[in-house]
């Protein structure tokens, strides 16, 4: 199956930061969640895909072609929501909508009004009177109203209350349910991804740690909890067992990518489900001693 999005060994360097040699692909019908701490390269990745910045090396293909070759037709098939609202805020929402719709060949007013009503957005208020969450919902409505095949969202749920977050996540899941469209979603709120993502991409200070199916990530990595003596024993045996850990006067907690070996060698040590939050914490910070 032809991927909707394919990055091959993409590198982009700024002063003090490099997104290093990133390769990933996203096929139709899936949600790829991108996680990583601040400054890990999530927004840079999205800006590269959206052609807002150019890669130093490597190639980016969307729908089997490059943005340089078919910029307008490629963007016609992308819906986007950025981490900050990019809107003329002095105008009414429908004025802004009319401005945006002229650019898309498959704009669907009915879809837009459906989302607009679903999000309970006011039509008689200028956009500057919208709350941050309302602006993000409005941007989401714009992104989903032109039958895009690829939806790219940069921290779309960060300003939303839990109910609105849930609504948007359900909408995204419904949007890809026919198998033609895909979603690339960057967020700090990893519980959102645990709920809807099919693949997880972890970035760490510009380095691509992995892109794996979510279930594989949750199977492969486990949370290890034990005493300080256990930690010493594990570290003496092999540091490779622990991807990262924290310790305090009572014991330690860390993440392992070798749960079977830990279980065999240290049967008394507790292994628990590792959330994406913990995974991000321990994989992007080697050790933290408090």
């Amino acid at each position: 199956m032809e991927p909707l999005l394919e990055l091959n060994q993409v590198t982009k360097t700024f002063s003090g930061f490099t997104l290093n040699n990133l390769s990933l692909r996203l096929e139709p019908g899936f949600i790829l969640g991108c996680i990583g701490p601040n400054g890990s390269g999530k927004t840079t990745l999205i800006r590269l895909i959206m052609h807002l910045i150019q890669p130093d090396t490597g190639s980016i293909h969307l729908f089997g072609t490059s943005m340089d070759a078919q910029e307008r037709s490629v963007k016609d098939r992308i819906g986007f929501v950025y981490d900050e609202p990019c809107l003329y805020e002095d105008v009414l929402p429908f004025v802004m909508k009319n401005m945006v719709k002229q650019f898309y060949s498959r704009w669907d007013d009915q879809e837009f009004f459906r989302y607009f009503e679903l999000f309970e957005l006011p039509s008689d208020k200028a956009l500057k009177h919208f709350s941050q969450g309302m602006k993000m919902k409005y941007m989401t409505a714009l992104a989903l109203s032109h039958h895009a095949q690829l939806i790219i969202l940069d921290e779309p749920t960060s300003g939303l209350d839990p109910v609105s977050r849930h609504e948007i996540l359900e909408l995204l899941q419904a949007y890809i349910s026919d198998g033609d469209a895909s979603v690339l979603f960057s967020t700090h709120i990893t519980s959102d991804l645990e709920r809807i993502a099919d693949y997880i991409c972890l970035l760490d200070h510009g380095n691509h740690r992995f892109t794996l199916p979510k279930d594989e990530v949750l199977d492969r990595y486990k949370l290890v909890i034990g005493s300080l003596e256990d930690l010493a024993a594990i570290l003496q045996n092999s540091t490779a067992f622990l991807c990262g850990y924290t310790k305090n006067s009572f014991g330690f907690e860390g993440v392992t990518d070798a749960p079977e070996q830990i279980k065999n060698d240290f049967p008394h040590i507790a292994l628990e489900h590792c959330s994406l939050d913990n995974l991000m914490l321990y994989l992007t910070k080697r050790s933290l001693n408090i």
Partner: protein
Amino acid sequence: MKTTLIALVYKDMLLQKRTVFFLLFFMLMLIVSMSGSGMSSPYVTATVGASLFWTMSVCSYEGFYKMEKLFASLPTTRLEMVLARYLSSLGVILVSILLSTSVGWIVTLLPISSSVVPATIIEAVTAFLIASILVFGYLPIYFKVGYLRSRMLNIAVFAVIGLVIAGLSLLIDALGINLTVTPLVWVLLILILWTALGLGSFLLAVRFFHSRAL
């Protein structure tokens, strides 16, 4: 390309519409006060001031709301974004000429000021040339560094343009060059120079904007 270009120009016009009444008032005050105090070229000043204000206010509005990021993500190209800005800026200059001459004409009909006289064709053409040359100087800077940083540079750019024009005129005087040519040659010279400046400015703006990170 045509549809997106029209959409981009329309968007600029929509934003410029917001300041029409303010600019009408500005033009009225300027034309009446300059004519009353015997200063020359009130229409040129009013048109150039309004055109620059309009062009720069759209740029500032876009910069403030990060609209370049939005439009660069919509199905359009950066070349179209630059072309649309040049077209809308030239449109704005024409509208400014129309407004300032209309304001002047209305003032001559009303008992506001007896010293105001209607604009001449020469004044309108001069206003168009000066305003467009200043816009040609400003837009590449805007597309290179964005509105916020261009605010600091634009005064320098305008000063350089003014100095170059004044310097050329001084040089011509000092060298005693006789520029007595037929009006047709003048028109052709001005047309060629204007086209070259406009094209150079546009190509530079495209090049700058293409490599700018948004």
